[in-house]
Every structure is written in structure tokens, then in C-alpha cells.
Symmetry: C2
Subunit: 456 residues, 2 copies
Amino acid sequence: MAEIPYKIYLEENEMPQAWYNLRADMKNKPAPLLNPGTLKPMTFEDLTPVFCDDLVRQELDDTTPFFEIPDEIRSFYKMYRPSPLVHASFLEKALDTPAKIYYKFEGNNTSGSHKLNSAIAQAYYAKKQGLKGVTTETGAGQWGTALSMACSYFDLDCKVYMVKVSYEQKPFRREVMRTYGASVTPSPSENTQVGRKILEAHPGTTGSLGCAISEAVEVATSTPGYRYVLGSVLNQVLLHQSVIGLETKAALDKYGIHPDIIIGCAGGGSNLGGLIAPFMGQKLRGEDNYRFIAVEPASCPSLTRGRFAYDFCDTGMVCPLAKMYTLGSNFIPSANHAGGLRYHGMSSVLSQLYADGLMEAVSVEQTSVFEAAELFARVEGTLPAPESSHAIRTAIDEALKCKETGEEKTIVFGLTGTGYFDMTAYERFNDGKMTDTIPSDEELEASFATLPQVNL
Amino acid sequence: MAEIPYKIYLEENEMPQAWYNLRADMKNKPAPLLNPGTLKPMTFEDLTPVFCDDLVRQELDDTTPFFEIPDEIRSFYKMYRPSPLVHASFLEKALDTPAKIYYKFEGNNTSGSHKLNSAIAQAYYAKKQGLKGVTTETGAGQWGTALSMACSYFDLDCKVYMVKVSYEQKPFRREVMRTYGASVTPSPSENTQVGRKILEAHPGTTGSLGCAISEAVEVATSTPGYRYVLGSVLNQVLLHQSVIGLETKAALDKYGIHPDIIIGCAGGGSNLGGLIAPFMGQKLRGEDNYRFIAVEPASCPSLTRGRFAYDFCDTGMVCPLAKMYTLGSNFIPSANHAGGLRYHGMSSVLSQLYADGLMEAVSVEQTSVFEAAELFARVEGTLPAPESSHAIRTAIDEALKCKETGEEKTIVFGLTGTGYFDMTAYERFNDGKMTDTIPSDEELEASFATLPQVNL
């Protein structure tokens, strides 16, 4: 076996040829999406007015283990993939731990995160279907940026509804999207019925992700040649993101490294679901065993404190119902600088795995997350995204446990992105002004009370 | 020969073991720095109060062809090097050119540019000398960021004097530096004599690079255990940056690719000097031939419209005199979004090569630069820094000439960095509000009139 370099890069011809569909190996399949009107499972016909046909097929298919990655997408992947699996030797040294730490770094592309892996796939299928364009919403902007890049590549129109407060406070991400040719509209807007209604009721509102989703869906379903796309939570997104885990496994196998613990931050679940997919597949098939840890913010603890129940995917309650760990679709997490981890629910796939005891979850507070981020930036050289730093926090905690016990465990975590557009958060931390907020039991109970009737 | 991948990554063991000192192969050596008081060449003793001893040795040595890269620096380089040499096949396709285009991408690190290559070297020698810390100035912030990262790695104090207008308008880069533990002071400040003097004379001033240099030098020379460091122009910096060219040449050689034209943007010259070093060495030794093109902004055209003369390196006229192509140390370029290309002079090494007809130079206007940047971002996926985009502009122009003539030339250019902290510039471009400004002949003549007497 060759000596392990600091950064393990696969060769281009070692990149995955197919995405892996973890659902095919799950005995307890994730519960189907339900039509909010009929409470019956959503069908192909129900979903295709909103999503592209091929993506609906992927969404509904829980038996096919592999989906070939089309050549056009593999060609695009080569622009920024394979991503490196980095041996965090500087971090190990700083922690003085016997543990071995590796991280899969998905931030070395202009979107700054793993979101591009699914954005390019969704844009490809939209183009293949002959569509003119797609619509989406974005909060902090990672997903919108990734989708803009993907649409630019396939010459598709891209309409992004950006939560107004972010549109105004985060002009840099907005300009990246515009540079890639996307139209970026602050939400709520006058473009849609739902937007006008909200503006009439709340003239000074700065918007919400739920409202932006509703606007994007309305535009997609009312404009010929358009569909709506989403960057997380959905089965299809986890399928595309399996490229992260497949590359990670190939790189580890190449050097004979066996991970004991695999860690990822979890918002909607796209990164974690992708990272763990092939390893969880082995565990499900009884071929190997690993510990998996989902890390979520203490301010938005869907796995660790949520209910496993059918809930609305959006605050507007117009999307299908999904069975997932949820805090209730009306739950508003307190101010938190990890915008990508503020979703009230969790991917149905991950929710089922957690319910079945196949995966652990922890929640961490943001000041301790930024302490980990700062240490990581200083010793490993890369300034991490606040979201990714949740995984860093837990990887460090596990490595410090190894220091106490003397165990030489191998820890792999997902470094989903860089924090270059999150310096306002770092500024608060640098100034000692960052605070932690954890929802009270009463708040959560009140939010659970809004879960839909189908759970009764 | 193996098939050429989209991204050529050298193996870690193929990384350079030594920096290459191009001056050793130059028949006409760059003219020495002169002591502004005596007008005699600066000696080791003159320079060591300002710079570290080992760096002064490198600065003054124009005969030793190779300097071994210390293990500690090579270890740090592994964090973000080898950097990829990318085959810009998407750009070739978009241009429909028979030319082959490659770029060496130096932006995949948190400093966002090639500056880290010299920052880590300078921090290493400061640590080796037992210093407590270093001082520097920064304008746009790339160099300050790189130095902060390097100092954090070697546990050195880092005092950055940041031009006040940038400190206030570019808080994100400032926060990256603070996250790496640097102290960032808006210049002019009350910390120094020169700062207080300027504040007294011009109470509302937003500062200048020249003033920030003067403050940083004053603090370094008046504080025990400190030295001053600089990110461009100097011979030592070009020496360290030769790692760019050495890796580029190794990657090209590995796949049997022979470049016809090598292109880089030129501000102080650190990136271009590093990129071309080993190729220019071959040309000087008569072993091979290449075209080299330096690209500068039309608003700050030191090579294409400057004088080859001794001049002050700083506007405060306290630093040594360097013989270089210069617009005069009082020249203030008009507003331009490539902050790294606003220096009035050019490295003495590059100036001598240009004077000897070994290198060409062109100047380009910023709207055409941003048009190239936008095209590049859309087809190659990476949003480039405004500075780097000057090289992209000229690479595209050369590729389009090949399209006319049908020639299959191979073009290599340096992509020095990413534009993630330059979105204000992109916003102006996206809004159609970007303008071009070119200094008049009269302006330049007035500026040349301030050149020091030594030239008479």
C-alpha cells in the first residue's frame, strides 16, 4: 500500500460512474410523500407538474441500487471533482490525539459547497426534458449559487427567489448568482399571487424561506416550460450526493483505511446522506460496521428533540407531507449563523435510519462550533462554513475522547464548504458577541401541536 | 504518454524540492537596490534591520540557482499544493479555437491567491531567527490574509496595517485575518509617528498603501523582535513564487505538453515572475523558446507606458530605490477593481527581462477584463479574481487569434486567485456601471518629473 499523502485525490477514471441509491438496501423504506389533499402517496402524475420527469422517477424509486451518471454530468463533475479526501494531520497534532482524522472537502468550487453535485444533475434533467428554465428559493445562498452555475452551463434560465433579508444583507452571494446569469428576486415579491398576498398582509416583511418556496413553486407551475428544483431533503438529492460517499470510500479503500466513525452536519440531510450512503449500505447488508453521527445545531435540533411524524415540508403547507423527524413546520429557529441547518425537518431517508437505530445524532451549540472552526482554520488552513463546522466540532470531540482512552480510532467527516461568505458570523465570534440559544420544551410542544392530522 | 486529464495534479513527491533563482541565469542582472541616502547599493547590514537575515541573503543573491525549500515550508505547502494545472477545455470549446489553453490555478486556499507561497516562507525565516512577529501593510487584503495564515501556523504575532478605506469597505477580508489571530489596524493610525503626523495634517484621510507601508516599517524597526515583510516586487518574493512555475513545468512535462505562450497578470510581478521562472531560464540558457506576455491594467501601465529608471518603492520615499519600469512613486492610478495591480512600479527582475526584449507586455481595460472574467466563470466554473482576469483576457485574445489563423498554439496562463471577496466589482459590472480610465500622457509626464535625481 502506498504512503498516505496529505490530500488523497482519485484519478479521473476512478470517479464514480453511477450514483448509489441507499433506499434499495433499506429494509424499512422511508415512508412515501403524501398528497396533502388526499393523504395518499404522491404518484408520478402528482409530482411531474412540479419536478422534471426523470427526477420524479428517481424520487419514487426505492429499489434500483444504482443510477448511471450521464456523461454530461460526469463531464461537469470533472471541473471540480474528484474532491480531495484530506488527512487532517495538522489537526491531529494540534489535538495531540491518537485518533486518525480525515475529511472529505467539498468546498473547492465557486458555489463553495457540495450543493453543486445535485444542482448540475437537476439542471441536466431539466435540459433533457426540453425545459426553458427552473425556479428555486435560497436563504443564505449556497444552493442558489450552485443552481446558477449549473443552469449557466446548460444554458437554462434560472429564477431564484431569495429571502429578502438575505438579499439585502448578503449582496455578495446575490452577485455571484447574477454573474452566472440567474435572475435573483427578493421574496416576497410582486411577481406572484402568494407574494402579493403576503406583502399586503405584512407590508414591511423581510421574508422567510417558506414564503420563497411558495413563490418559486407558483412560478414553476404557472409558467410553461419551467419546473421547480430543491437542494436538500428529497430522495433524489441524496441520490446525487452519494457521489461524495462513493469517492470517499474509493479513496479510503485505495489506501486501506477503515473508518470507525463517520460524521456529518445535518440540516435537510443532503450532505450527510450522500457521505454515509455506501458505508451505510455495507452496514445494512451486514458486510461491515461503522458508527454514523449526524450533527445538528442545538437551536434547530430536529433529530435529537423532534418528533418522527408526517409534516409539511414548507411553512406555507402547500408541498407534500413527508414523514420525518420534525420540529413542526411553523418552528422558527432562533438566530443562528448556519443558515443551511435551519430547516425544521430532516430527510425521510435519514429519519428512517435514525428511527431504526442505525445512526446516532448529537446537537452542538454555536459558540463551541465557532471555536472548533477557528482552530480548524488555523491548523488546517481552510476557513470552514459554519454548517461544516458542526461536523468539525463533533470530530474534535470524538478525537479528544480517543486521547483520554488511548484508542486509535479513524474518524472521517464531511467538510461541506468554505465560510468566505459567512464573515459576518466570524466577526461576531471574533468580537465575543456570539450567543447560544436553545428552544425550550414548551416552545417545541407548542410547535408539535401544529403537526397535521394524518399523524393521529 | 497518459491521456491528459481535465485537472493535472502532481503527486506530493513530484513537488519542487528547491526554489529556482532566475537571476542566476540572467546575463544582465537586475540592478541593485540603492540606499536612498548614499545612493550606494544596499548591503546586508543596510537591510537586516528591516528584513530577516535569511531573506536578505536571498534578496541579494543573484548567482545561486537553487535554494532548497525547508521541510517546514514543504510540509505547509502540502496543505494547499500542488495546485492543479487545468486544461481549459470548456473555454476552448466556448471560443471554438484550435488553441490549447491551460491555466495554473493558485486560488484554492483560504487566502484566495498565490500570496501564501511567499508568506509562509517569510514567516518561516522570521520564526527561525527567533523573532516575535512581523508587520506588513495590505490594501485589498490578499497579502494580509496570506501572511495571517502563515503567522498563525508558526505562532508568530502578525500586525497588519490596512488602508483605512479598505478596512471599512472590506470588512470580510479583515475578519479572515482576525480569525487567523492577526491584529488589523486601519491606517493611518495613532500607533506610529508617521501615522499621527498624517492624521494631524489630513484629519479625515482614508489612507493609502504608501502610508500603510511607512507605518508597518516604522513599527517593525522600532519594536524589538519584529521585522517587516512584503508580498511582491522583491527578488526574494519572486524566488518563493518560482514554485508556481516549477510545478507548472513538471505537470506539462509529465504529459509532453510544450507551451508556446505563457501569460500572467503583472502588478508588482510576484505571480508572473514565479510562473515564468523555469521557462525563462530555459530561454536564457538557449535550451528552448517561448513567448511571455505580462498583462497590466490600462489604468496602471508601468511596463507599457512607464520609464525604466531608479525610483522609490513607496510613496513615502523612505524605502530603498529600485531600478524598474515605473510610473513615478506619486502616481495614483484611477479607481480600478484590481487592487493587486495598482502598484506604480514593477519587479526589477521582470523590468530587466522586459528591457532586454525577452518578454512582451500588453495593457487591457477593465470592462473587457470583466467580460473575460464572466465568460470564464460561466464555462470553467471558477469565479476569478479581477487581477487574474487580466491574464484570462489576454489568453482569450491569443486563442481568438489562433481561431483566425488556424494555428494550434498552446497557451498557459496563471489564474492567481478567486474573486469571492471582490463581488462589489462584479456588482458594478453586472449593473453596467463599470468604466475604463486611462491616464493621459500629460499625467504621466507630470509623474515622471518626480523621479529621483539618481537617474540624471
